[in-house]
């Protein structure tokens, strides 16, 4: 395929972004973002996205490592479970979360005891984002760990490192570029989560919900500035992860 053919496909893929930029004037963006409370959805999305990433890092990184190192019995069953959650449409995830953590479930009852709720709260938003993004992180992190040569881990052990130290000095640095990319993809999924969010966490508004309600209430043009904000907020982390991964790879090549 020629460079021209590749460029046509690339531009076609970027079509929505190009359209977004050409449809908006600086005045539209300014007026949309300077209204009272207009940046609240942005803050909500960033906060919930960061809490989601922290949750994924703490809970899903060990699972991904165990999957990559065959430390679990019947590994295919574990992997099938992750794929199931990946294949569920986000809207269906939202519906099922209502039956899983909603107010009339045992989880909801426990949360009620501590004056919390998993519907229409910040907690609900984080839960929805975790469920929408976790499979992407687990599969990405698993691939990153699987790419680390176990012979190197063995060599580090023979050089005197205990398993925890081997993980810190060899496994983690070598898997880091892949983990960063997995985290970046998860971030994009979390901050753009809508299907599950609209069912279980209609409030508080994150940016996707703000786009949806603005679209319904005041029309297409009013929603576009929020789309741009979503893009601007969501993009830096994946871009940074990409640039950092590429630099790490270049450094290894010397």
């Amino acid at each position: 395929m020629s460079i021209a053919g590749a460029a046509i496909i690339w531009i076609a893929l970027l079509g929505p972004v190009i359209t977004l930029l050409t449809r908006m004037s600086p005045g539209d963006i300014w007026s949309a973002l300077t209204g009272a409370g207009n940046l609240d959805p942005l803050a909500t999305s960033v906060e919930s996205g960061l809490v989601t990433l922290a949750t994924l890092l703490v809970l899903c990184t060990p699972l991904a490592w165990m999957l990559a190192r065959d430390r679990l019995p019947f590994p295919r069953i574990w992997e099938a479970g992750i794929l199931c959650s990946l294949l569920l449409p986000p809207l269906v995830i939202g519906l099922l979360l209502v039956f899983m953590v909603g107010p009339y479930t045992w989880v909801g009852t426990v949360l009620d005891w501590i004056h919390q709720s998993a519907t229409n709260t910040f907690l609900a938003l984080v839960i929805a984002e975790v469920y929408e993004s976790a499979p992407y992180y687990v599969l990405g992190a698993r691939a990153a760990f699987a790419g680390v040569d176990t012979g190197l881990e063995q060599q580090a052990g023979l050089l005197g490192d205990r398993p925890g130290r081997v993980f810190r000095r060899v496994t983690l640095p070598m898997a880091a570029p892949g983990l960063a990319m997995a985290l970046a993809v998860s971030w994009a999924r979390a901050i753009g989560a809508f299907g599950a969010v609209v069912i279980i966490a209609y409030h508080p508004f994150g940016i996707p919900m703000q786009i949806f309600t603005t679209l319904q209430e005041t029309g297409l043009y009013s929603a576009l500035p929020y789309a741009l904000v979503l893009l601007v907020v969501a993009l830096p982390l994946p871009m940074a992860a990409y640039v950092w991964s590429a630099r790490a790879e270049r450094r290894r090549r010397g």
């Binding site: 063995q154 060599q155 023979l158 005197g160 205990r162 070598m174 790490a248």
Partner: protein, 344 residues
Amino acid sequence: MYGARVLSVDVEVDRREFTVRAALEVADGERVALFGPSGAGKTTVLEAIAGLVTPRGGHVSLGNRVLTSTDERVDVPPWRRRVGLLRQDPGLFPHLSVRANLLYARSAREDELAALAAQLDIAGLLSAMPARLSGGQRHRVALGRLLLAHCDALLLDEPFASLDAALRRSLTTLVKDICSERMVASVLVTHQLSDAQAFADRLAVIDEGIIAQIGAPDEVVLRPASRRVAELVGYLGFVPAAGAPAAGAPGSAPGVVAGVHPDRVIAEADPDRGLVVTGTVTAARPSGAGWEADILAGDATFTCRLPGRPVSQVAVTVLDPPYFAPDGALLTRGHPIQLNVPGA
């Protein structure tokens, strides 16, 4: 000097095809080569020493430290064994510079690092990343890393097998000198007899998990303990021993054969130096500076290397060959042996 430890191994490790049973003792600064065909269990023995596989029974000790003992239920984890393992893949950490790789196990004084780097000829590479190094340089760095880790024993699992012959020879000599200088017990696993001979004080031949013979390399090659060991160390034919010379040979006992090593044949009939064999050349091909010929003598075929292109009918002398009984056992062991090796 460090590493003054005797490595003692007596293990049984179950594998799918057979059980590896190996007993070996390696003294301070001694170099032992474990030689055998692929899949014979050589690497399994090293892994049992390094603690990477758990033996069904037996023990491994290094000096006064028991590393493995099934009787005492001791199994020291690999990271506390202080045993270095160098494999064919040198296992350099690609995210660390050469310097950081060398200092991975412990920090070292700058002069110690500089002296080692100079000895290994990697002084100019300390800030380079491993991906920039050639195969030989990577192995030098990996060796340096093990030496700076102050291992009490060094295990070499065909480390230089992927390198060309000249580089392999120079690295083998380097490792040999360093092991002797630092008095580190070392075990080399290889299926290249020349590598084993170049490295080792003692050669152990392993076949299907059993150490079939252990001794000085010359003795093992010239007086293999059995016909099977002879096959493994390069004897490419066995001819009936009828008419064998008197010096220690079993005469014309039925079923007795003489082993023919291709490098221990001369292209003339000289009964004073060995067994004279007359035969027909069935194939001949150039080999190095001479020729390699397949010779049919009675029912037996053997291969030998000759200085010139052989004619169709030849009479050659197999120099001082080992004789084997019909059951494969060596018959002449213990008799006076004339080695006939230049410079031996």
